[in-house]
Amino acid sequence: MEFYFFHLMPWPHLPAEYQGPAWIRCPNELYDPERGVAVYNRYLDELVYAEQLGFDGVCVNEHHANAYGNMPSPNLIGSILARQTQRCKIAIVGNALPLYNPPLRVAEEFAMIDVISGGRLVAGMVVGGGPEYYSNGLNPAQARERFYEAHDLIVQAWTRPGPFVFNGKYYKLRYVNPWPRPLQKPHPPIWIPGAGSLETMEFVARRRYAYMGIPYFHRRVFERNFSFFREACEKEGYRARPEQMGWLCPIYVAESDEAARREYEPHFWYFAKRLLPGIETSPPGYTSVRSAVKLITSRSDFLLFVDTWEQVVDGRYAIVGSPDTVVEQMIDMISTLGVGNILALLQVGTLPAELTRRNMELFAREVMPRLRAWEQQRRAAAA
């Protein structure tokens, strides 16, 4: 089991009068760069602090043109972390491959971070969320084809001696020869997030990469998806290892269940009701017709459509409570899902710095050790 501190770097200062979506057309006048100085630097401090607290790794991700997450270039953050941390893994989850032209850039930047950090990069690769296709002009109907071709280009760039020719449908390069090459062999581990598409799972299983469940769904969605993923690995002739499965969850720990809810709830709703709206945008051709229809017709299991705290708790959309409660709920989730990478989202929305730090400390000191002990016991019992 490994614990990662996941940061989204949200914009916490959306004015109350603004009630529109946080994505694509959220006017960037609402981004105040003067306040941004403190916001970015505070979030970077939190990521660095995570290493000090004993997290196995830190995670950042890529989103464009929105108030939900202010890292259009997660590699910039990754490179800062390569210098400001010493031991922890740096999981960039991930680069939205089709948005890089050519995607060879991903191979190059990831290689730089891997070398500078001494081989600590986790290379996440994503298709890029639906909204990104509005913001970046790329054709959503080409998203998945481009993603797979870009992935092939990047892995070849890391593993084939250059220069070589890459003649793809979308990317045609006559001298693929990136300097530097990554430190880790054969290349940095690759994580790929998915929201349930079998195609993605089969791809991850076949390549023996790690699958990350895209968050903000009811627990039953994760249960189903990880179960399908394990099946996909079985079909490939092997048993999925826990470290091939990552689960991202908002978590808040406080002295008591009551204090936790009281302190956390307003910030969680800012996240769910102000920052999520727009995330669900699925442009034409972005998914298969079947998936698109499913997305339209079955919405209830997504956090965007949740309105009460009871639903949040029952569906495990967030795990909130005293250390005992959090440990208990996490043991339940981890044993049900079989995941080995716990991606803890300990800051959400407007959750301020003091509460974030305290949350991180309580999680690291009161929850993580007990979960590690539980895992040890389980292994010993199985042996």
Binding site: P140, A141, P283, P284, G285, V289, V293, I296, T297
Partner: protein, 261 residues
Amino acid sequence: MSEKLQVGTETVELRRQGEGQPLLYLHGGIGDTDWLPVFDEWSREFTVFQPLHPGFGESTGGDKLDGMEDLVFHYIDLLGALGIEGSDLTVVGASFGGWIAAEIASRYPHLVRRLVLVGAAGLWLDEAPPGELFGNSPPELAALLFHDLQHPVAAMMAAVTDVAQLPEELIVQQVRAMEALARVAWNPYFHNPKLERQLRRVRASTVVVWGKEDRFFPVAYAERYAAAIPGARLEIVPDTGHLVMLERPEAVTRQLCSLPR
């Protein structure tokens, strides 16, 4: 009236009615994919063909389109499959279909005798960028495409407040059609940056018909098309939005009949 035709490797759903010289109607993204009443009038003078674009209705191939050029070749193939290539051909194109029509008429000037462009996509004006079609709800689309919001089709669209409530069949159709459109029109958005300078090749007798209150392709595009196509006439229809074929089809009929035969 409805038939299915093999065109290359794909199937085309096509309606055909009437006698006389062929008229190819190229529909837009939304609103004119049914057999319109005005086609019954036209089929007194022409054999009216209304093929559905790849990805629309039962026409296949919408998920294979890769740019406007594929669609142009597809329609040249269709003309061949119908046996009307080289005939006295009239092409009427509306909206997205108007863009296709303009491309065919400029790339294959000898194939098109008469051209009617109705609220046609295909050009880009910085000062009047086209409205947003993708990602909008049916009520938003009604506001984009209609001037007369009491029009029965506009009212029907405006009443769909939750797409999830529509019959699944309809949702599937919409999803397929939007994907086909996106494959051609996502970026450059509903236009071909090179089209304007190719329009001088059009030899067809041309009339451009536009709704004055078109919010999808503002009326400035009508003027641009008319200026770029040699000898083109222009009719701007007052109190009319983007879907002229639904709101004021008689204006299109009048202009169609005025073209030299």
